[in-house]
């Protein structure tokens, strides 16, 4: 039996507007609404709406079909403001009862690496958002960019989740197969689902690559590969960005036709079916332990944190933002806290990545800046304004506290 488990990541950051040094202390609108609307509507038109429509059709046509999503809080927020029809279409999918919504940090952040308290708060915020919008409570967690370690698994289990997703990275799997359910090498009992990156990336990255020896990837061929897992594995975890459909792989590559014919083709073999992450965990016993002491992720060939924290400007800007945590939270200014959290979205640090800068590859495609250095400069300018606002609000609270003291003293006198 092979259970195919689709999980699609859905996320859009709040991109910043051009914020030169002259704006510090003068403008508090950090985010480029115009640009964010433009991107959201474009991706909605090319991906979210047509892909959701297709998924709904497939879910209705094939009672056995299952998919799962993780939608970042900042994505949902943007849709609520500018593209409510997108949220409606996701709701329709969730209402079929065959679609699982996963947990993640509301701000698609790297919070775990800097502040466990903030990490926890963002997961709670996200949980509440999912409950409000979809009426369900997520039970399986996936961290930003599948960042994972034993330690994270333990923390997540303590928060009450029954499963966690990770990259099926060979040095971590050692000789094990990604196509089985595992337990992390921790004291707990949480289940670990590992991405089969070879087959997931065949769809997400290589599908339209004419230089790839397996091009074109037909449903027939892909199903044969799935069938061949039957002897050795129980699941096939196909984790990828949802934007694969129509945005990363354009419609004219045939990606929609591919996914459209996949369920019927796969189900021709009675040994195949589809499951959500929760169903996998409920259906299969774990087959051993996976020991992952270092931090891994699903990004780049290194599968480490270097896409977001690989250089000095990334590490420094990220630590600076978390250094503000205590004071920001104490000041209690909701707008300030909200802006501070939006700056935590991992994309801002991804834009500062210098390691692939020469290659003009995937990093460039997603980067609104001409260079990683420009992105750092913009980020630091905004950070400086945020710091000013924080100081102002602290002074205000100090002076109002003084006023209260004076009044009380007056009374006493």
């Amino acid at each position: 039996m092979v259970s195919v488990c689709f999980y699609f990541q859905v996320h859009q950051p709040f991109r910043m507007r051009n914020y030169p040094i002259f704006d510090i202390g003068k403008r508090q609108d950090y985010f480029d609404d115009e640009k964010n609307i433009e991107v959201l509507l474009k991706v909605a038109r090319k991906c979210y709406l047509p892909a959701n429509q297709l998924m709904l059709k497939l879910l209705k046509a094939h009672p056995e079909f299952r998919i799962s999503f993780s939608l970042s809080g900042v994505f949902i927020e943007q849709c609520e403001r500018w593209a409510p029809e997108v949220i409606e279409s996701f709701k329709k999918l969730a209402d079929t009862g065959k679609v699982e919504i996963l947990s993640e940090t509301y701000y698609h952040s790297l919070a775990y690496l800097f502040s466990k308290e903030e990490f926890k708060e963002q997961i709670e915020m996200h949980k509440k958002k999912i409950q409000d919008v979809f009426g369900v409570t997520p039970t399986v967690f996936r961290n930003t960019e599948l960042i994972y370690s034993n330690e994270i698994a333990e923390f997540i289990e303590d928060m009450g989740f029954k499963g966690i997703l990770s990259e099926g990275w060979d040095p971590i799997l050692k000789d094990k197969s990604p196509n089985l359910i595992y337990r992390p090498a921790t004291k707990g009992n949480i289940r670990l689902l590992m991405k089969n990156y070879r087959m997931a990336d065949d769809i997400a990255f290589r599908f339209s690559n004419k230089g790839w020896s397996e091009w074109p990837l037909t449903t027939d061929k892909f199903c044969q590969w799935v069938n061949s897992i039957n002897n050795t594995g129980k699941c096939l975890n196909l984790f990828m960005d949802y934007e694969t459909f129509g945005e990363h792989q354009w419609e004219d590559t045939g990606i929609f036709n591919f996914i459209s014919s996949l369920p019927s083709e796969l189900l021709k073999n009675p040994d195949n079916d589809f499951k959500t992450p929760s169903e996998l965990i409920d259906s299969y016993e774990p087959e051993g332990e996976i020991n992952c002491q270092q931090m891994i992720s699903w990004a780049d060939v290194e599968r480490d944190l270097s896409a977001w924290l690989g250089n000095r400007i990334q590490r420094s800007s990220a630590s600076r933002i978390y250094e503000m945590e205590k004071e920001i939270k104490e000041c209690g200014d909701k707008d300030l806290i909200n802006d501070w959290r939006k700056l935590q979205t991992s994309d801002h640090f991804y834009y500062m990545c210098t390691k692939w800068f020469n290659d003009g590859d995937v990093h460039k495609y997603f980067n609104p800046y001409d260079s990683p250095y420009d992105s750092f400069i913009n980020f630091m300018n905004v950070m400086n304004d945020l710091t000013l606002r924080l100081k102002d609000s602290e002074q205000m609270s100090v002076s109002s506290a003084d006023e209260v003291n004076c009044n009380e003293m007056g009374k006493a006198v």
Partner: protein
């Protein structure tokens, strides 16, 4: 393959980037196994010994022959600077004992006098290709070609439009156009220059090849490790001719804006040129003259010392055909902020880039560079690694291919 090249005196003579470019290309070509006869205008009273040193077997593998022609032409001359040069020489050098003029009485006549040597040299020199560098040598090259009917390559390092900030001298631009038109192939040092040549002179894009410049990797001056003399103050460096082309005005305007945010900054200006006085006056008007240090024209090791002391090198050029000096800065481990109106910005990725007129954006970037050591370090480390790929062999290899192609066409 034998090349007859009309070029310029090699460094350390005061010939700016053009002399360096000629030296580097010749060195690269000789490493490719090509024989070069190099013709250069040579000022009076210069000792031959200096050239012998430069042509040591190590540098040129015995592949280069130098042919000197007495002339007071130097690159980047204008009609007025030529006249001044002529005056300085005094009558002894202008007229010989028979009272006949030795040098042209103006730049044009001197260029034509120099060019006459072209056919003479073509007569005595066996070659497969004639290669000439910038407008002053073009007529000499054309004369040579008329004599020996060999393919002619016009190398363009800067157009008259670049040098004058868009107000060309008609005589010069006509000579420039004529050379580009008569050449079988034009080598431009960037796409930026290629586009200018197409825009201003209507040259067929198909005959223009872009060969980006490189830099010599073995220079002992990179290891001087000069430290800044200041403790608290950071140094922002301008290094180049102080002429309209290099954007000195924008440097001063930016400095006054930067100082509002980072008052502990010194602006070092290394170079000389006709806009020096205007630069000083403007800084004085803005009441920031005390934040400026003017070093005058630097040469040799001092250039490298200046780079190594600086926290940032700024090249705000209005029109910079290539900008080799930016690569020099990187070789010395100094981060750079360069104008997008430059050839070098096409090839260097680890640099800050701005439009030359955008002094606000320049300020935004400079202030952040001065504020954050992590930004300086990251830029420094990545650009230092990147600059290693810009060596002399790549452009020489490409130039050789250009020769081969054009020779093939002549067969």
């Amino acid at each position: 393959m034998k090349i007859l090249m009309f070029g310029w005196e090699f460094p350390p003579f005061k010939s700016g980037g053009l002399g360096t470019a000629c030296y580097d290309l010749t060195k690269g070509l000789s490493r490719q196994g090509l024989d070069v006869t190099f013709v250069m205008p040579t000022a009076p009273k210069k000792a031959d010994a200096e050239f012998v040193n430069l042509l040591g077997a190590n540098n040129f593998a015995g592949k280069v022959k130098i042919r000197k022609i007495s002339s007071i032409l130097t690159p980047y001359q204008s009609f007025s600077s030529y006249s001044e040069e002529l005056k300085k020489l005094g009558t002894d050098y202008v007229k010989n004992s028979n009272d006949k003029e030795v040098y042209g009485n103006n730049l044009y006549t001197e260029v034509m006098r120099y060019s006459a040597a072209g056919s003479e040299i073509a007569e005595e020199t066996d070659c497969d290709v004639i290669h000439m560098h910038d407008w002053m040598t073009y007529q000499a090259g054309i004369n040579a070609k008329e004599h020996n009917k060999k393919p002619l390559v016009a190398h363009i390092h800067a157009t008259e439009y670049d040098r004058t900030g868009g107000n060309p001298n008609k005589i010069i631009s006509n000579i420039e156009r004529n050379g580009l038109v008569k050449a079988d192939v034009v080598i431009a040092n960037s796409h930026f220059t290629k586009n200018n040549v197409i825009k201003h002179y209507g040259i067929n894009p198909d005959k223009i090849e872009v060969v980006h410049w490189g830099i010599d990797s073995d220079n002992p001056h990179y290891n001087i490790n000069q430290k800044s003399p200041f403790n608290k103050e950071k140094i922002v460096l301008f290094l180049g001719r102080i002429t309209i082309q290099k954007g000195p005005d924008y440097f001063v305007e930016t400095a006054s804006k930067v100082l509002k945010y980072e008052p502990n900054t010194k602006f070092v200006v290394a170079g000389s040129g006709d806009m020096f006085e205007r630069m000083v006056n403007r800084a004085d008007e803005l009441d920031i003259l005390d934040r400026f240090i003017f070093t005058g024209f630097l040469r040799g090791a001092d250039v490298h010392r200046a780079f190594q002391m600086a926290d940032l090198y700024v090249m705000p050029s209005v029109s910079e055909p290539f900008g080799l000096v930016a690569l020099e800065a990187l070789k010395n481990g100094t981060p750079i902020l360069i104008s997008k109106q430059s050839g070098v910005s096409e090839v260097v990725t680890h640099a800050l880039k701005v439009d030359f007129w955008d002094t606000d954006e320049m300020t935004n970037k400079i202030v952040n560079i001065l504020k954050y050591s992590e930004l300086r370090e990251e830029l420094k480390q990545n650009s230092f690694r990147e600059v290693q790929q810009f060596n002399l062999d790549k452009p020489a290899e490409k130039t050789r291919q250009v020769y081969e192609k054009v020779i093939e066409r002549y067969k």
